[in-house]
Amino acid sequence: MTRPNVSQTILKDIRALRLLVVHPDDRDREELVDQLSRIGCVFSCQWPLLDAPPPGTDMVLLAVHPDTLSQPCPWLEKPGAPPVIPIVAFENPITLAAVLHLDAFTTIASPVRPAGVLTALALTLHQSKQRRTREHYIQRLEQKAAHQHLIQKATRALMDARRLKEDEAYELLREKAMLQREPIEQVARQIIKATEALGI
């Protein structure tokens, strides 16, 4: 028996998304918001985008417009920035460069047609969730690697100070952490600090 898969449950979130449409008020925007309301999305419109999307924005549909190509998007660089779906009318290298800068998963082509908008939303939702999970995982790995480095340094200090073998030194460190009810990297940091102080 098969259970409904994850990608299917993600689709159900589409109507709960808070979308921001950053697009000049023209025929493309009309076509886009008509289709968004058919799909049943929650959205608001802005043009141009002044500083940053309002807090709580889950996704931005952004016109990559010749008039705003030079406008910087500092909010894009911030951690937790919402994913962007560029709406693209031109395919010249300057516009393409602007699109690449948005780090998008897919685009909506101008003139906007109703068919394809739902796919763009679904793809972006799915990929951005996966990207977030991946980033989180990498962060955890980096942290773990940094801790590993501390633990190794502390183990070496204990080996030197107490003339212990490596596994004995590590065991000592672990016991100390358990006794103090602190994370092992915390205890390692104390030992390194103490050794350094003694060294001076």
């Binding site: 028996m1 098969t2 259970r3 409904p4 689709l11 109507r15």
Partner: protein, 391 residues
């Protein structure tokens, strides 16, 4: 004045001809009614019928031919989704309109299409709610191998899991599957211990499935077959004895007691013989032809762009009851009824939505409506069935 030609894309041959032939006749009937009443804008409606032979690419080729050779830009037709998808690029490219009169899987909008049949929230959802509430939640799913059955089963599966039920099996058969294929499926269904069978088999496969299930010894009173794709035309093709007990949900049944239905049926039988049967797709084609004429009259023009604008918000006392065209998503607000096939091959209505149901072609999470799980008073037989297979 020159007549207004309409391309009619319904198959008179091939696997889905039984239903499509009734749709073609419905268009002819409606056009004759319109013409007898003086036509529209003083012009006659002239249906130009072609036979795509139930072959999806042929719908595209024939519509293109009618566009190029006769300048036709108004079309009624298509039954399977694959046929509609073949025609849409052409009507979009040539600024033409397609009136599509069959229930389908939703998730579509084209400026150049008007959808006259049910979206899943208007038929699959009430049917699923009804079956799961009344017959149990261990379900055997069997369907034809194309998009509509998969989408219908997605809706059904979600509802099954929400109530902690289970799928007894899920099988898809090619459109040209043969009797032995269906016999193997029927054996598997009988062994599966399902509370009911949810069939999304279309066309000639329905008769093969029902025959195979009967042969496998499945008691349709204990383990009913539900199918939102089965209508009076399919039942006529397979014979009422094979279909008795089948439960479906549709916007229209031949047995609907409205003034408009009595009149339409009377004229239909005068024209096509006393034995002529109607069904939901027949009604949709009939209604869409009348809507088209109304829109032409309201627009004062037979230009597709003008007609499209005039279609928005049009309403009509249809054989099924009051309907209305949604100008926003081009679908139609329809009535919804749960029906059970009787020994005469027509449907006894078990439950009915209190008012027309708004089409929501893009809904993804489904909550079945209350009306579908309650049985109408007087349908005692369905109450007797309640105990069977209830969880």
């Amino acid at each position: 004045m020159e007549p207004i030609e309409i391309g009619v894309l319904f198959s008179s041959s091939g696997v889905t001809a039984a239903v499509e032939e009734t749709q073609r006749r419905a268009v002819l009937l409606a056009a004759e009614e319109i013409n007898e009443a003086g036509g529209v804008l003083g012009r006659e409606l002239a249906p130009v019928c072609v036979d795509p032979a139930s072959c999806p690419p042929r719908y595209g080729q024939l519509s293109e031919q009618l566009i190029f050779e006769r300048g036709i830009r108004l079309f009624l037709g298509c039954y399977m989704s694959s046929a509609r998808k073949a025609v849409i690029p052409l009507v979009e490219r040539h600024d033409a309109l397609l009136f599509y009169g069959a229930a389908y899987e939703g998730f579509e909008f084209s400026r150049n299409v008007f959808y006259g049949g049910a979206a899943p929230n208007q038929n699959i959802l009430p049917l699923a709610g009804h079956m799961l509430a009344r017959h149990g939640s261990r379900v055997a799913m069997v369907g034809s191998d194309y998009v509509c059955p998969y989408e219908a089963n997605r809706v059904m599966s979600d509802l099954i899991y929400e109530r902690g039920g289970s799928k007894a099996l899920e099988i898809y058969l090619p459109l040209d599957a043969t009797a032995p294929d269906y016999q193997a499926v029927a054996q598997a269904i009988r062994r599966s211990g399902a509370d009911f069978v949810y069939s999304t088999v279309v066309g000639e496969g329905m008769a093969l499935l029902h025959t195979a299930l009967a042969k496998a010894g499945l008691d349709r009173l204990k383990t009913p077959i539900a199918s939102h794709m089965c209508c009076e035309a399919d039942i006529e093709a397979m014979g009422a004895d094979l279909a008795e007990g089948l439960i479906t949900c549709a916007s229209y049944f031949e047995s609907v007691q409205t003034e408009a239905n009595q009149q339409a049926l009377r004229r239909y039988r005068q024209r096509f013989g006393a034995a002529a049967r109607s069904n939901a797709c027949w009604e949709a084609a009939y209604v869409q032809t009348h809507l088209l004429a109304k829109a032409i009259a309201a627009a004062g023009s037979a230009e597709p762009a003008h007609i499209a604008r005039a279609m928005a918000g049009l309403s009509l006392q249809a054989p099924q009851g009051l309907i209305r065209v949604d100008g926003h998503n081009h679908h139609t607000h329809l009535n919804a009824r749960i029906g059970r096939c009787n020994a005469l091959g027509s449907f006894d209505i078990l439950a009915q939505a209190p008012e027309p149901v708004t089409a929501d072609p893009y809904v993804m999470s489904h909550v079945p409506p209350d009306w579908a799980t309650v049985t109408a008073p007087g349908s005692g037989h369905a109450d007797a069935l309640l105990a069977v297979g209830a969880p």
